[in-house]
Amino acid sequence: MKKKPFIKPALRLAMLWPHTWAGVTLGGLLMVIFFMGSLSVFAPEIDRWMMPSTRLEAPDGPVSLDQAVRPLVDRLSAGRTVQGWFVRLPEERNPVLTLRLRAEGGAVNGVATAEGAMLPPVGTLGASSFFYPLHYSLHLRMGFIGIWIVSFATVAMLVGLISGVIIHARIFKDVFTFRSWGQTRRSVLDLHNLTGVLALPFHLMISFTGVVIIAPIVLPSGVNALYGGGIEGFYNDAIGGFDRPRAGVVAPLAPLDPMVAEARRLWGGGKVGYVQVLHPGDAAAYVRVSRSTEDRISLNNEPVVFDGVTGAVLKHAPLGPVVAAQRFLSGLHIVAFHHWSLRWLYFLLGLSGCALIGSGLLCWLEKRRAAHGVRAGVGWRVVAAMSCATTVGLLLATLAMMAANRALPADAPSRAMTEVAVFFGVWIASAIHAGARSAGGAPWRSQTGAAAGLAVACVALNGLTTGDHPFQALADGKMAVFGVDSVLLLTAALASAAAFRLGRSAKGRVGVEEAKHA
């Protein structure tokens, strides 16, 4: 008796078109999201690389808020009334004090050493304010439109993953199969299946938790019904927020260090992540002390709210079960914890997601190339150019921004914005180049070669402008700089190897075409 197939051919066919359409239309966008997400895993390390003045050693003990931080707040406010301030305390990966002040006449930001010495402005958005927001919001902040687009693409990714598993004819027999020899088309399909199936748990986890983080924004009905659209009120109730208006009566702010000690006692140990002070100098002042989440997966930072004048505890409530689950799933995505092996695994598996999407696009292109022969239609050319621009082009733009970061003088006017302009300028240029040259296939080889050159240029420029060439950085224990430089050099090596092989196979292909015509 013939065994009935587990998945019917009709179902498989029905799954094929959403898989193809989701991949071809949203593949480029997903590539941006996955690549920038992978970089964001190491955002503080890339920040150290891009902000040389912050390449410091982490302090040994805790920082005194009263002695180190409050004088800085007074200096930054320069006599104006402060409505509130925020400080992130230094730690191993982020060895600086980051201050944000909301004062009369606008906000002021500052970066200082753990001892309380102000550092010059960093002059760059860095990875944490450019690559990371690009990952989740595409820098389209108005009306959360970027977040909406990203979450739509993420749901399409989930559709692609699940339909891909259903389409895959021999999922168990081919689990480990990668045939590097023979037809390019088969090798690319093998790579697509391999990265899709072996890393499936990671891809499902990261896509699902990605949507869970922004669930209150993309599934707003519950919040709307209960809080009349006020998402602030929801967050106050859900994750230990607290709010009360200014009283208008002058009262001095109590010492902060005892509050920190009390918060640590309530937590039963742990480190302080950040501290917020609202309405300082007013009778209604309050202080929120949040725990660092470096030792746990969950983002539950157990905020403790103190009265700013008396120092009494105003609020310290455990999370409800649903919010606790959301905080855990968010933490699983954001990797705020200190665990270097897991951090590298997230980075590598994130890049395997890029390989999955990229090989999917290549699969589509190679299949159509075989079907249409040499003459390429407009649709094929558009997908070819888009694939090139969103993979190698995106890498080029990122490397160009990092090179510009080291090449621009420290006091250049609007330095941060110039870097952003370089990023988008190079990206657009690579897309135009890819579009113009897409007739015989996108200019993969020349752009990959350019990426290799730029990666080497980044390392060289960093060595020249800061003196922290890889050996020096290693000797000084600046592991963040050494790590970024090493990955850049590895990128250069892989990109030049790829460019070399592409050159060889291009020659081979021309040879075959000539032989056909002869």
Partner: protein, 105 residues
């Protein structure tokens, strides 16, 4: 030091476990061991059992090293990396053997 060795052991065990499972698949057995005959049923069972034992030992080590939550996460992601490494090894060995056959050695 001990932490690093445990980590290495987790990866090594998962690599071995995946390798054992890979050899139960006809394709890889034909490519690398015996071109004509598939693995015996007894061999397949033994390979599967040793694969499962390796994976379980790796899970125990990972949880012992990092605690429940971190250990389980580490195990899941390291399993994927181990599987990728096995796939790369299979590709490398098979390509090598094919090359030797094409040259007529």
């Amino acid at each position: 030091m001990r932490d690093a060795l445990t980590l290495l052991a987790v990866f090594a065990l998962l690599y071995l476990g995946c390798a054992a499972l890979a050899m139960t698949l006809d394709r890889h057995w034909h490519d690398l061991v015996d071109r004509r005959n598939g693995p015996l049923r007894r061999t397949v069972q033994r390979l599967r059992l040793s694969g499962a034992v390796c994976a379980a030992a790796a899970l125990a080590l990972a949880i012992q090293r990092d605690g429940g939550a971190f250990g389980l996460l580490l195990w899941c992601l390291a399993l994927t990396v181990g599987a990728f490494a096995v796939s790369a090894t299979l590709t490398w060995r098979t390509a090598q053997l094919r090359g030797a056959q094409l040259r007529g050695d």
